[in-house]
Amino acid sequence: MSAETLSTFPMGGIHPKESKELTEKLTAEVVPTPSQIRLFLKQHVGAPCKPQVKKKDKVTEGDVVASVEKLGANLHSGVSGTVKGVVNALHPMVGNARALVIATDPEANPKTYSPVDWTKFSREELIAKIKDAGVVGLGGAGFPAGFKLDVRPDVKIDTLILNGAECEPYLTSDHRVMLEHPKDIIEGAKIMLKILGIDYCAIGIENNKPDAIQILNRAIAEDTLRNGYKIVVKPLKVRYPQGSADQIMQAVTGRARPSGVRSSVIGIILQNVYTTKAVYDAVALGKPLYERIVTITGKGIKRPANVMVKVGTSIAEIVDYLGGTTPDLAKVIVGGPMMGFAVSTLDIPITKTTSGVLFLTKDEINTEPHLPCVSCGFCVDVCPMGLEPNNVSRYVEAGRGADTEEFGVDDCFLCGSCAYVCPAKRPLVQFMTMAKNSIRESKKK
């Protein structure tokens, strides 16, 4: 397939160095069970969970340890052991958060799961299973999958899109999932199609993962129990931020989501490929979401790898397992280099949405002070949403952040393309965030 015919989103976008070769060929290896896990009570969109266990309670692998009534997802223990209590732990995004600590019983055997025929379940049963298993969007946002699939009957959905773009440089966890579990993904897609009551599913994959495209295509071809479902793989042109919800929906279907509404309004449900796999696990195996593949990569770590770890494992322990960091390590990022969060310590637990941890060396980071805007317009050219980061930043600098709504600040999903290209090295994402905050504050008044 030639590059011209590949679809992509219509405006903006950048081509940062991918650096995926560090880990893309490495099969996910299982990290030994850690001595303790710390589970943040909020690992999803919605309200934080309430602990369902008390101090010194015994739990086994897969037990629900915390739950929430409204929008949210159950939390399961990934290990068998004893509850140590609730502590404050460092969270990569929000700074400090409540976390449940569970000490591992080294003697316990790992739990095993065997598949059942999921086609016998009704729509409601399927949704309940997904909700019970605590499946959230694993691409990064962490929207509870069960709630996303439970669309109101008056909303007309016609397409399910599986997001396998993985446009962030370095990260390969979705890639590995597609390579290692293609059949699970197809099954997961069918489960979701059944829930939604539609028959069309498109898997959007960036063209830099030809092996994944090939394997998924083969898996679709080999799948005999199709039940009239039409599942296709859509190769996409490599371009950041292809993996963003709006961009991939546009790229695959040509439909753009209007400002300030949910994607279901334009008839699309979007799920990450890894989430699809988790849906399959939850429904067919009955296995809750308590472990995941995380890409540990960068020049700052001795041995880059894709690892299968329990949610709640400390990054420090994974680093130890991989042989430690290099001396010129300068920055650790939870998530991808474009949208991830820099952390100041390695003592941070993995969450359900942690797709990678990046270890950057001194020469890869930029610590120079930023200059005034020179109006080159590069940021405007690359903004995938057609916003004006230059003007927003100048408004914020002038203390007029609240007046930036006309530039569509609310549409910004902080992809960082603008800050990437800015020749004056201005922290445009930060200005955008500040503008959003000032708008919110001024609206409160």
Binding site: M338, H370, L371, P372, C376, G416, P423
Partner: protein, 356 residues
């Protein structure tokens, strides 16, 4: 910035800062390798060939003028920033060097050597530093410098043109009195005596096109060779530092309006001559594309360029000066914020209807 620091402190307060010390900043953690200074120095590099060529066309003194201009611009920025207690390091970004070069390129090559100093002070201190430094100036500094010099020394600035040297005697004009050697620019002759006189002085039209294209004509440094300037400009476009919109629309609109109004009857003007003469090329590629003082959006850029072209032709045909690029750009510069406001980028997300 305060935000970065705030973030860093909250994270650091919460956890114990463990060795190795890790940098914390907001995303993205990757940045492109382009920097303002890299872009500026590339522009400087693109501006060097015309200067080298001008030494062979007008003599060695063009080099001195350029040097004086650049040094005075850089020194002005350094001194004024020091006095205003701003970082002096900004001189390294190369923008003052560009201003100095451009200023030297658009003043006649026969002016006294002290003149660019005054222009440089005006360009950098008044136009740039007083407005807040790089990024805050409303007008193109080099053009303001030139406009100031024209207003202050009208005689020198409108008469110190030198006829090109054809025998490589680059020191010919050194120390020569301006009155003794000065000549008129083709545009001046065109404006006041008509095309026939131009042909009489510079040869047939095809010779004129050739000489203008390769640079043998009276004029300022920037007017030497259209070819060299276009190559520099195309390199900038290739590097994606500038887009083609502004230069193309400036040149097209100069050609278009000259064609319509430039002749004795409508639609009989000579667009090629109009584009090749004067500062159209350097204005289109190096001045109208100045980031700070030009719009960022495609529509804005096209209108900006078309406006410059139209004003240039208006000044050339009806105004008092034979050349109008400088003033045309200066007149369009303050329209930049308005153009940016009127022509916004197309938003990705369909916008809800007003009042909905």
């Amino acid at each position: 910035m305060t935000g970065t620091q705030a973030e860093a402190t909250t994270v650091e307060e919460a956890g114990k800062a463990l060795p190795p010390k890790l940098f914390v900043s907001i995303s993205p953690h990757f940045k492109a390798t382009e920097t303002v200074s890299k872009i500026m120095w590339t522009v400087v590099a693109c501006l060097i060939p015309p200067l080298v060529l001008s030494v062979f066309v007008f003599g060695f003194q063009t080099l001195i003028i350029a040097l004086v201009s650049v040094v005075s611009c850089v020194a002005t920025e350094a001194i004024s920033n020091r006095c205003l207690k701003r970082p002096v390091g900004t001189i390294k970004d190369g923008s003052a060097v560009i201003t100095g070069l451009l200023l030297a390129y658009i003043i006649p090559p026969g002016v006294p050597y002290w003149m660019p100093i005054l222009g440089g002070v005006m360009a950098i201190y008044v136009t740039k530093v007083l407005m807040g430094g790089i990024g805050y100036n409303m007008f193109n500094p080099a053009l303001i410098g030139r406009a100031f010099l024209v207003a202050t020394y009208p005689v020198a600035m409108t008469s110190a043109w030198l006829p090109p040297i054809r025998d490589a005697a680059v020191f010919k004009y050194m120390g020569a009195g301006v009155d003794a050697v000065s000549t008129a620019t083709p545009l001046y002759i065109l404006k006041h005596y008509g095309i026939a006189e131009v042909i009489e002085r510079f040869g047939s039209l095809s010779v004129i096109y050739r000489d203008f294209f390769f640079g043998w004509r009276p004029g300022c440094i920037a007017e030497t060779s259209a070819l060299v300037l276009i190559i520099g400009g195309l390199y900038l476009i290739y590097k994606k530092y500038i887009t083609w919109h502004t230069p193309v629309s400036v040149i097209a609109s100069v050609a278009f309006f000259t064609w319509i109004f430039g002749g004795e009857k409508f639609f009989t003007g000579n667009p090629l001559l109009a584009v090749l003469s004067g500062g159209v090329i350097i204005g289109a590629f190096f001045m109208a594309t100045d980031y700070v003082t030009s719009p960022t959006q495609v529509t804005g850029k096209l209108i900006f360029g078309a406006g410059i072209g139209a004003l240039t032709v208006l000044i050339r045909l009806k105004g008092g000066y034979p050349e109008g690029v400088c003033y045309a750009i200066l007149l369009m510069n303050p329209l930049t914020p308005a153009l940016d406001r009127w022509f916004k980028p197309k938003r990705f997300a369909p916008q809800p209807e007003e009042g909905a």
